[in-house]
């Protein structure tokens, strides 16, 4: 204990001397190395590493180098509390930039508040998360759902929708918005069914779907297993309706192979985006990681841009002081693979959305793009 005490006091000394240009700016990345998110987490970490390397190579921020502290949040609240504690209070990071489950994000928020640390959240989510310390540069339902529904309405003449989801916040959040939007655009929801997150037998739901006479499906399951089991079982049951999947990322779709063919996805990023920034980014990624490269996706690219957003904010603020940085974050904008991102809408960002369809070879073909879709009001006045 005594020795720890010493260490602590030393650490404090170091902290107080943080004016020294020498010592680095610490970026904390709490992410689901284990649990539900562990599939996508590696790609997130990779893009964070690339961003940090690029920035450091160009002399860092305000002459200070950036360092990454990655911690596992086990994709859940309990793990997140530990991870955030470790990063905020032990590692004393200057900022948190990460993609996480809603549970983990929520669990982190009070700790972030206690530690007065900026938190850039880079994962799409069900929306309505509002904290002065939280910035979001990924999409919310208002941005993702309309492209699919509009397309189904127009091109597929769909009027009867069947919604399937995992019974958790994201699943229910997305589908309740979808339902509202479908009805708003004159369609009808003929069924809305949920399975527990660890559920793997969708049989009764699929039978209901087939009985419902729906002419389009929109699903929002937990990423990974449930997504796969549902898709496989839909295919096994010979369901061939227009199928919009709000929760499948490009990488998963790719590895699902034939089963995923024909699925419609709506994302703010697909590897097929034809822009210099994206080409440069992809090249840099494959150069840096070679064979170990995890396909960049809608969850990893925002992480990359998040780091740059922080860089911009710190430079604008001229320091790493939390309050100043938080103020700056809504004013700076980033030129990234997804285009120009500025988190100026109640700490959320307008995004260009892409409607894609999974091809039989697993690649995603962009069918239509919707520039600067507005996130809408994410911070409703507290009643």
């Amino acid at each position: 204990m005594i020795s720890r005490a010493l260490l602590v006091s030393l650490a404090l000394v170091a902290a107080s001397g943080s004016a020294l240009a020498a010592d680095p700016i610490k970026i904390g990345v709490p992410v689901g190395l284990s649990g539900a998110n562990s599939v996508v987490a590696p790609s997130v970490v990779q893009s964070a590493e690339l961003a940090v390397d690029e920035i450091n190579a160009k002399g860092g921020v305000l002459g200070r180098q950036l360092t990454l502290d990655v911690a596992d949040d086990a994709s859940g609240a309990a793990g997140a509390q530990k991870a955030f504690d470790a990063l905020v209070f032990q590692k004393k990071v200057n900022v948190l930039i990460s993609m996480e489950t809603s549970a983990a994000r929520n669990a982190g928020l009070p700790i972030v508040a206690r530690g007065k640390t900026p938190f850039i959240y880079t994962s799409f989510y069900e929306g309505r998360s509002c904290s002065p310390y939280l910035y979001v540069n990924a999409w919310v339902p208002e941005q993702q759902v309309p492209p699919i529904v509009d397309y189904f309405n127009k091109e597929k003449k769909a009027t009867k929708y069947f919604l399937i989801g995992s019974d958790y916040a994201f699943g229910r959040g997305m589908l309740s918005f979808t339902k509202a939007y479908v009805e708003k655009t004159g369609g009808k929801v003929v069924g809305e069914e949920y399975l527990p997150m660890d559920g793997s037998d969708w049989t009764p739901i699929i039978s209901k779907l087939k009985a419902s006479g729906a002419d389009a499906i929109i699903t929002s399951t937990a990423g990974g297993a449930p997504n796969v089991t549902l898709t496989k079982q839909l295919r096994a049951a010979g369901v061939s309706l227009p199928y919009g999947n709000l929760a499948v990322d490009e990488g998963t779709a790719k590895s699902m192979g034939a089963d995923a063919a024909g699925i419609y996805i709506s994302a703010s990023y697909v590897t097929g985006i034809d822009s210099p920034a994206n080409k440069k980014f992809l090249a840099a990624m494959s150069k840096k990681f070679g064979a170990d490269l995890k396909t960049p996706n809608d969850l990893s690219v925002p992480e990359y841009e998040g780091v740059y957003a922080y860089k911009a904010a710190v430079e604008k603020a001229g320091s790493t002081d939390s309050q100043k940085v938080l103020a700056a974050l809504s004013e700076v904008s980033v030129e990234g693979p997804r285009g120009t991102i500025r988190m100026d809408k109640q700490r959320h960002a307008p995004l260009t959305m892409y409607l894609g369809q999974v091809q039989s070879d697993g690649s995603v073909k962009v069918i239509q793009s919707f520039p600067n879709v507005d996130p809408g009001a994410q911070c409703p006045p507290k009643s």
Partner: protein
């Protein structure tokens, strides 16, 4: 003023005495370190420990239910979760404030108690198995978590609840609050578990059947324990959420339940300290390790669990303890005084007919083990039940002592029809049953075993260990006669077979029964022990006017002591008469030396 006999222990109790003085400084040290620690530790460690303290409280409840009462429970996490969500939901719905806080705490207690009672009712009933109790405890958290998931914004579903305002305390204060409540729970738990009540719980774990044949309603005790631990666990959860300001489904889940078990298993089940050590070390270690190497950490946990279960079933602390005991002299409980109680005058009181059996039958499907057994037994009668193997002797004993056993017929003990009542009720009519294989409480001392036997006469104290043990004269006689009186502080498992038999008899006599059922009490006893037994039984019949029904193979023994013999053959009474009649009966000779008895069905 009844006379008081004082028995000195094998090992005088230096530790027993010393226990007093080192308690005080220890308490000072603990409280002191809890108070000072947050000044020394870094913020991170403090955060980790605060959560660990609350988890440790939950672990203690698991330890009590599993380690002490013997029910492997996966369900305590559910009660923890109830506390977490009671706070989170109420603060989210009604905001933070003193009445909300009280309301939340009340809710968590009430709900936890309710769910606990329901779980208990499901898990524990006459004839329920430990495995079944585990199954139920498994279902509870699973159901709860599904409810939370589908609860929408009310429960926050998978994202849990967050952002509600809660107690705004300094980190240090949180640390002290959590630390002291853990210490408090631990101390209370230790006191209760070391008290006479705690011993009773151990007795339930060691030998549930023996308990119910001592007139103890084991299910009721188990349910009470479950409800109390549920409440404690829910309050731990309440504190956990109050500090973390987050409610998440994991806090209530089955996985957390197993994690609690692992903590207790590693630390040492049946030792409160073990639970704390296990909980704190796992929580802290995981905080440092799981972040950097999540999978390897899980791997370590798994391997550790297997290793501990195989190598040290009673956990690391238990292993250390065993080592310790090797070095130190065995701790002896405070000296116990035996004091005879003024037993109800057994004179004219009570009907002369102590046991009445009519047309008793026991059938398994088509095969009937007992058929039309009818007899009466009076007080002071020493009735022996003999017959070749498989004649149904032990089955008969079971049917007399457990109302649910017999298929047909009527049984009355001391004038009370036993209907379909379970043993613990039948015993209260004045029946005592001694099993064939000595059935005592292996991990309890002799004195403790006897005290448990007195439960229904003298309620055990939840805080203290009484040093005086009141027993009926008959029981004391057995204790002295057998030499148990010199080994009152000895754990029953260390006794010889003969002494165990004597102890069980003494325990049964402590019930002050009117009817005494004995199943082959002399099997495997030395000649001397058998002689002693014979004398004890005869004096019980003559002096204490007990009605004794004895199942015995050893016919010499039977002839020696019986006042009357019933010969059972192929489930029917072949003969019921005096020792002479039986000895002279050719029928019995035939039954015993083999030939099929032509008239075996004959009723006397």
């Amino acid at each position: 003023m009844p006379e008081v006999r004082q028995f000195s222990q094998l090992a005088p109790a230096p530790l027993g005495l010393s226990a007093k003085w080192w308690m005080v400084p220890l308490a000072v040290v603990i409280v002191g370190s809890i108070a000072l620690a947050p000044l020394v530790l870094d913020t991170y460690m403090v955060n980790i420990l605060i959560r660990a303290f609350f988890v440790a409280i939950a672990a203690i409840t698991v330890d009590i239910v599993w380690g002490y009462c013997g029910t492997l429970t996966f369900g305590q996490s559910a009660f923890f979760g109830i506390g977490v969500y009671a706070l989170a939901i109420i603060f989210t719905e009604y905001g933070f404030g003193s009445w909300q806080a009280l309301f939340a705490m009340g809710t968590s207690v009430v709900v936890a108690a309710g769910v606990g009672a329901l779980t208990g009712w499901l898990s524990f009933y006459p004839g329920s198995t430990p495995l079944y109790a585990s199954i139920v405890s498994l279902v509870v958290p699973i159901v709860l978590v599904q409810i939370l998931y589908s609860g929408g914004t009310f429960t926050g579903s998978s994202s849990g609840l967050v952002g509600f305002e809660t107690f705004d305390l300094e980190l240090e204060s949180w640390f002290r609050l959590a630390g002291l409540s853990l210490a408090a729970v631990a101390v209370v738990a230790l006191i209760i578990m070391r008290s006479d009540t705690g011993r009773l719980l151990k007795a339930l774990r060691d030998n549930d059947e023996r308990c119910s044949y001592l007139g103890i309603n084991t299910s009721r005790y188990r349910i009470i324990v479950l409800v109390l631990t549920a409440i404690i666990a829910s309050l731990a959860g309440f504190g956990y959420a109050a500090f973390g300001a987050v409610a998440a489904p994991e806090n209530a889940g089955f996985t957390f339940g197993t994690r609690l078990i692992i903590m207790v298993a590693l630390g040492g089940r049946g030792t409160i300290i073990g639970a704390i050590v296990g909980a704190l070390s796992i929580e802290v270690a995981s905080a440092y390790l799981s972040g950097s190497l999540p999978y390897v950490w899980e791997l370590i946990i798994g391997i550790a669990l297997i290793a501990v279960i195989l190598a040290f079933p009673d956990g690391l602390l238990g292993a250390v303890g065993r080592l310790g005991r090797g070095i130190l002299p065995s701790k002896a409980s405070a000296t116990t005084q035996l004091r005879p109680v003024a037993t109800a005058d057994t004179g004219p009181a009570g009907s002369e007919v102590a046991m009445k059996v009519t047309g008793l039958g026991k059938h398994f499907g088509s095969l009937s083990v007992l058929d039309g057994v009818t007899f009466e037994a009076k007080r002071s009668e020493l009735l022996s039940l003999v017959g070749p193997n498989g004649a149904g002797k032990t089955t008969l004993i079971r049917c007399l002592s457990d109302g649910r056993e017999r298929s047909t017929g009527f049984v009355a003990i001391a004038g009370h029809a036993i209907d379909r009542l379970p043993p613990d009720r039948v015993v209260q009519f004045g029946l005592g049953r001694k099993f064939q294989a000595a059935s005592v409480f292996e991990t309890l001392t002799v004195a403790e075993c006897l005290r448990v036997a007195r439960t229904h006469r003298a309620r055990p104290s939840p805080v203290s260990t009484s040093t005086v043990l009141e027993l009926p004269a008959a029981a004391i006689a057995v204790v002295e006669r057998s030499g148990l009186s010199d080994r009152l502080g000895e754990e029953a498992r260390n006794l010889s077979h003969g002494l165990k038999q004597a102890l069980e008899l003494a325990m049964v006599l402590a019930l002050e029964p009117e009817v005494l059922l004995l199943d082959e009490p002399t099997a495997g006893l030395t000649r001397a022990e058998r002689q002693a037994f014979a004398d004890i039984l005869t004096s019980l019949a003559s002096r204490d006017r007990l009605c004794i029904l004895l199942v015995e193979h050893d016919l010499d023994f039977v002839r020696e002591i019986s006042s009357r013999i019933i010969v059972l053959h192929q489930g029917k009474i072949a003969l019921d008469g005096s020792v002479q009649e039986v000895v002279d009966s050719s029928l019995v000779r035939e039954i015993y030396t083999g030939q099929q008895a032509a008239a075996c069905g004959a009723e006397p």
